[in-house]
């Protein structure tokens, strides 16, 4: 019975092979024309790709879309690499601005919301969001903002700002956002 199965399979493979090659030869003529058109399309596409590069460093978002203000001239959020909680140079600069503003406005308390992208399990992302928010909180504290003025709230992947399912959208969603609480 095994032998028959093997023979059957071999037969199938051979037939499939024939079909596939037949298709391939037929198509070869077409594809040459297709490639020439796609090349033209590629040159047109080149712009957005370059833009994408400018919007992400590694996979950390560095653009300004979705970024709001905690106060005038003080961005409200920082972005993270996939699965990471490390603050980038740009993030630290943002957080130093936030700390300076918070030192000047000592009656303000804030909530830092930590978020993750959709490419992880829900529970792990809740923990990851908490870790990200705390990374931002710790940095604000080292720049003189006392911990009792900062509350931390993780949303995991529950509140994306961008509903896309692509690396750029995900990079915008991996964030911690500092929001005035009073």
């Amino acid at each position: 019975m095994n032998l028959r199965k093997i023979l059957n399979n071999v037969f199938l493979v051979v037939i499939l092979g024939l079909i596939v090659t037949a298709c391939a030869t037929k198509k070869s003529v077409k594809t040459t024309t297709e490639t020439s058109t796609t090349k033209a399309a590629e040159t047109q596409k080149a712009d957005p790709i370059e833009k994408l590069d400018a919007l992400m460093q590694g996979d950390v978002y560095v653009g300004s879309d979705t970024v709001g203000e905690l106060a005038s001239g003080v961005p409200d959020r920082v972005f993270f690499a996939t699965n990471e909680t490390i603050l980038t140079t740009a993030s630290r600069e943002t957080l130093r601005k936030q700390a300076a503003w918070l030192r000047q406005n000592s009656d303000v308390t804030v909530v830092i919301e930590g978020h993750a992208d959709e490419r992880g399990t829900r529970e792990y992302n809740l923990a990851l969001g908490e870790r990200r928010a705390n990374a931002a909180k710790d940095y604000l504290m080292t720049y003189g903002v006392s911990s009792d003025r900062i509350q931390v709230l993780s949303y995991g992947k529950e509140r994306p700002v961008d509903s896309g399912s692509n690396p750029l959208s995900w990079s915008k969603n991996r964030r911690s956002v500092t929001i005035k609480a009073n």
């Binding site: 699965n83 909680t85 909530v111 959709e118 490419r119 992880g120 399990t121 829900r122 529970e123 792990y124 809740l126 923990a127 990851l128 908490e130 870790r131 928010a133 705390n134 990374a135 710790d138 709230l153 993780s154 949303y155 529950e158 509140r159 994306p160 700002v161 961008d162 509903s163 896309g164 399912s165 959208s169």
Partner: protein, 452 residues
């Protein structure tokens, strides 16, 4: 009867065992030979039908009950339910004594018959349902029972009969008289509204348990009763709650300074294990619901979450990134002897111990794809059951034969087309099915058998 058992033994032998790889499934899939079964409409006399029509607005209750059973058995993939149009014998006569040749003629090997009669007890309406299971080739009745209940319970009667048939023919306990709790989802992806919802295992009798004012996640049944534990963002304080689905009473159980999440009951229902996140570190805690004593079980600067007890309560499996990435670990229930068990390619999350104790179901992310799989409790014998763009949160049927989970779709270039749905798949990797829900749905949890 022995014949049925033999047939089923054969079916199970043909299915790939735990040691087989995923690749072989497609080859053997076509070999499955479901058992041909006829489910005769349950006979309902005219007086009963008239009464039922008034009370439940159903024209033929007996027919409806047989449809509940048919739907249950068909969805197992183990039965081939024969079209009622081809039945040669009338329901009332078949229920008295089937003409076995007639049923053999339409290639049926098993027959279910039944009868519904109305009854008045203490001035209240009841229905009495009688059911019989017949072996066509052996030409005899092999099982049956009768029960009396209030008319509104009629679907549950169908589920109880399905459980009996499944048990008798497969030798395993059934899972039809059960419910599924889940998170009902509505609205755009960026502002999802989520409510706790509960429904019968077959998608009927959906009830919403919260209003959607606050975010709720990860409801899980107590394996011993109808209590549920879940995460609620009530007043923007993510905490673990306990909900009695009969009374609607809620209380906080995870009121620690910090966020509590990822709750799950112990097998005896007396404890809840959960994660507590504080100062950027998530640890696993256990809270005894009788003594209100809580105890920290893990102690590591990494993320420790998604804990799940073994059915004997002696071990806990959980998710940790202490190796650098999410992996699955097990430890004793006192937190000692922590051991990593997942070593395959990719990252692993949401381990859930099977009610049989021998397997752990999990979610795996590898090369941009999400898999639901199972492995033995020592990490060997990994088997991936299904692959997709995004899916997670496996939950076991009470008999450990089926895994229910949720799957989300990829959005298009405009960020539209998002949906979340429940799916189920057999432990064998066969029989993947959409579980219909009124709204979008996620985070399913399967109840134990409801009892009486």
């Amino acid at each position: 009867m022995r014949k049925f058992l033999l047939i089923f033994v054969c079916i199970f032998l043909l299915k790939p065992g735990y040691s087989h790889s995923l690749v072989e499934i497609d080859i053997t899939r076509g070999n499955l030979d479901p058992l041909p079964i006829s489910i005769s409409p349950f006979f309902t006399d005219k007086i009963t039908n008239a009464k039922i029509k008034k009370e439940l607005d159903l024209d033929n209750l007996g027919l409806e009950i047989s449809k509940v059973i048919e739907n249950n058995l068909k969805k197992t993939g183990l039965f081939n339910t024969i079209d009622k149009e081809s039945f040669l014998q009338k329901p009332d006569i078949a229920h008295l004594k089937p003409r076995f040749e007639d049923w053999a003629l339409i290639k049926s090997q098993v027959l279910i018959t039944g009868k519904v009669t109305s009854k008045i007890i203490n001035d209240k309406d009841y229905i009495r349902i009688e059911f019989k299971l017949w072996d066509i080739l052996g030409a005899k009745m092999v099982d049956g029972f009768s029960l009396t209940t209030v008319p509104t319970n009629w679907r549950r009667v169908g589920h109880k009969i399905s459980d009996k048939v499944y048990e008798r023919l497969t030798g395993e306990s059934g899972y039809f008289d059960t419910r599924i709790i889940y998170v009902a989802e509505e609205g755009p992806k960026t502002q999802r509204i989520k409510k706790l919802a509960i429904m019968d295992q077959d998608g009927f009798n959906t009830k919403y348990l919260t209003l959607g004012n606050e975010l709720v996640l990860t409801p899980r049944f107590n394996p011993t009763n109808q209590m549920v534990t879940y995460l609620s963002y009530f007043r923007n304080m993510p905490r673990v709650y306990l909900l009695n689905i009969e009374t609607g009473k809620q209380e906080v159980v995870g009121d620690f300074p910090g966020m509590t999440f990822a709750p799950r009951f112990s097998p005896d229902g007396k404890k809840i294990i959960m994660s507590l996140a504080k100062d950027g570190n998530s640890e696993i805690w256990v809270r005894n619901l009788e003594t209100n004593i809580q105890e920290k079980l893990t102690d590591h600067p990494s993320i420790d979450t998604s804990p799940s007890y073994s059915p004997d309560g002696k071990y806990i499996t959980f998710n940790s990134d202490r190796s650098g990435y999410q992996q699955i670990y097990i430890m004793r229930s006192d937190g000692s002897n922590v051991k990593r068990i997942s070593f395959g390619k990719g990252i692993y999350g949401t381990p859930v111990w099977s009610p049989r104790g021998d397997l752990i179901a999990f979610t795996k992310l590898h090369k941009g794809k999400f898999f639901i799989g199972v492995m033995r409790t020592d990490g060997t014998g990994e088997r991936l059951l299904t692959e997709n763009f995004y899916q997670e949160a496996p939950s076991w049927s009470p008999n450990g034969r089926i895994i229910i989970f949720y799957r989300e779709t990829k959005t298009d270039k405009k960020g539209e087309g998002f949906s979340a749905k429940l799916w189920s798949i057999d432990l064998t990797g066969y029989n993947e099915r959409l579980v219909k829900t009124e709204t979008d749905a996620s985070d399913p949890s399967w109840s134990s058998l409801l009892g009486n």
